[in-house]
């Protein structure tokens, strides 16, 4: 027992050391491509840390969204024509180190403040017990999904609105030149990986009701399928070719969420206050459409907002 505890201590230290070293290397490396690679690896190690801290939902989201999609989005900014892009701190070294000392002092101050109130957290703002008490009335049995889609559904609605605003901003910028080349190897991979990804997205969405998973992770898997199709040479990346269908898909998540909320308000239930008996089905409906919207939004974000034919 004692030995096992010690082993956990060693693992914790190793994980934290690797995480911090990767973050420093990603921020400080002078080669831009290398910095992006290190950031992706950083995201994957962070996913391990989430798993270690008993946060499997976030581990899934981090691996798919933070490391996967974030990495793909970053790589899309690399230009085809240049080989290596170096960025060093442009400031005088003394200023760089001075700023480094300053941020570390700030960090120490935050740490000191936070750690001094940490022992009181259990009594003051911990809401875990309240969630557990209400879980049976939420329509789902997984506490994180219950918080996201029921107790704090308002936040999640606004989050989908943020996602919608971001993609509208991206689309408003017009065409951007695509920087990636299509690879034959991807088209063979896509043939059987894309159906599998769609199946897994459906599974993760369904599993979210009772275990880690849900709309965000499922949407990220769909976006992964879309990006794979785009890299395999499909210029529409599996998105509908009709413009109105794309627009409909992008607003579906936010729109239906809002309509359900308003409908329940009109029904005399209060905004996004599901009747207990039907909560499960409302949540499932909203999550399904949110998955489609998230998948389409993130795929389009990778493609620069507007599907376009490959310039020959």
């Amino acid at each position: 027992m004692n030995l096992l505890d010690g082993l956990w201590g060693v693992l914790d230290l190793l994980l934290v050391a690797v995480l911090l070293l990767l973050a420093m290397a990603a921020v400080l490396s002078s080669d831009r491509r290398r910095s992006m690679m290190l950031f992706i690896v950083f995201g994957l190690v962070l996913a391990l840390v989430w798993a270690r801290l008993h946060a499997p939902d976030i581990a899934l989201a981090e691996a798919a969204i933070g490391a996967g999609l974030g990495g793909a989005l970053l790589m899309a900014t690399l230009r085809r024509d240049t080989h290596q892009q170096t960025d060093r701190f442009p400031q005088h070294p003394a200023l760089v180190w001075g700023a480094g000392v300053l941020v570390m002092v700030l960090g120490t101050a935050i740490a000191w403040g936070l750690l001094s109130i940490l022992p009181t957290v259990e009594q003051t703002w911990r809401k875990g017990a309240a969630v557990d008490a209400q879980l049976a009335f939420s329509g789902v049995s997984h506490p994180v999904t219950a918080v996201l889609l029921n107790f704090r559904a308002w936040d999640t609605l606004l989050e989908l609105a943020v996602l919608l605003a971001a993609i509208l901003g991206i689309r408003a910028l017009g065409y951007v030149r695509s920087t990636y080349v299509t690879e034959a190897a991807f088209s063979q991979l896509a043939v059987w990986l894309v159906p599998l990804l769609i199946l897994m997205a459906g599974y993760i969405l369904w599993a979210g009701a009772h275990s880690p998973g849900g709309a965000f992770q499922a949407g990220a898997l769909l976006a992964g399928a879309g990006i794979l199709l785009r890299l395999a040479g499909y210029s529409y990346a599996g998105l509908p070719t009709a413009r109105w269908l794309v627009r409909l898909g992008l607003v579906a998540g936010t729109g239906v969420f809002l309509l359900v909320g308003l409908g329940l308000l009109g029904w005399g239930q209060g905004f996004l206050h599901y009747p207990v008996a039907y909560a499960k089905w409302w949540i499932l409906l909203i999550e399904m459409l949110a998955t489609v919207s998230i998948g389409m939004t993130l795929t389009l974000a990778f493609m620069g907002g507007i599907p376009q034919k490959e310039a020959a």
Partner: protein
């Protein structure tokens, strides 16, 4: 008990391949050799780890998930290695042409 022993044995064997793959990644002279070490050792290592874990599953659904994870990792590493190798090969050809 025998199953547990088998698991431990396979996990250790898998670990050995991971470590040798890492050594190869670290010490081999060029990218092609490093890719070779990484993919060979990692695929076999992961396969052994997954086989070791298969003796610990509570039901068939878990076993299917484990096998799926392994297959996906195999495909991903094969495609990745291929893409990196093709990219390097093209770069070298371009370099030869310009020289």
């Amino acid at each position: 008990m025998i199953l547990d022993a088998l698991s431990v044995l396979l996990l250790l064997l898998g670990l050995f391949f991971f470590v040798s793959g890492l050594l190869g990644l670290w010490r081999f002279p060029n990218t092609f050799a490093r890719l070779h070490a990484l993919t060979k050792a990692d695929n076999l290592g992961l396969g052994l780890v997954m086989t070791g874990l298969l003796f610990q599953v509570p039901d068939v659904l878990w076993a299917i998930k484990f096998v799926l994870v392994w297959l996906l990792a195999l495909v991903a590493s094969a495609v990745n290695a291929h893409l990196i190798a093709v990219f390097l090969h093209r770069q070298q050809e371009r370099h030869d042409e310009s020289a």
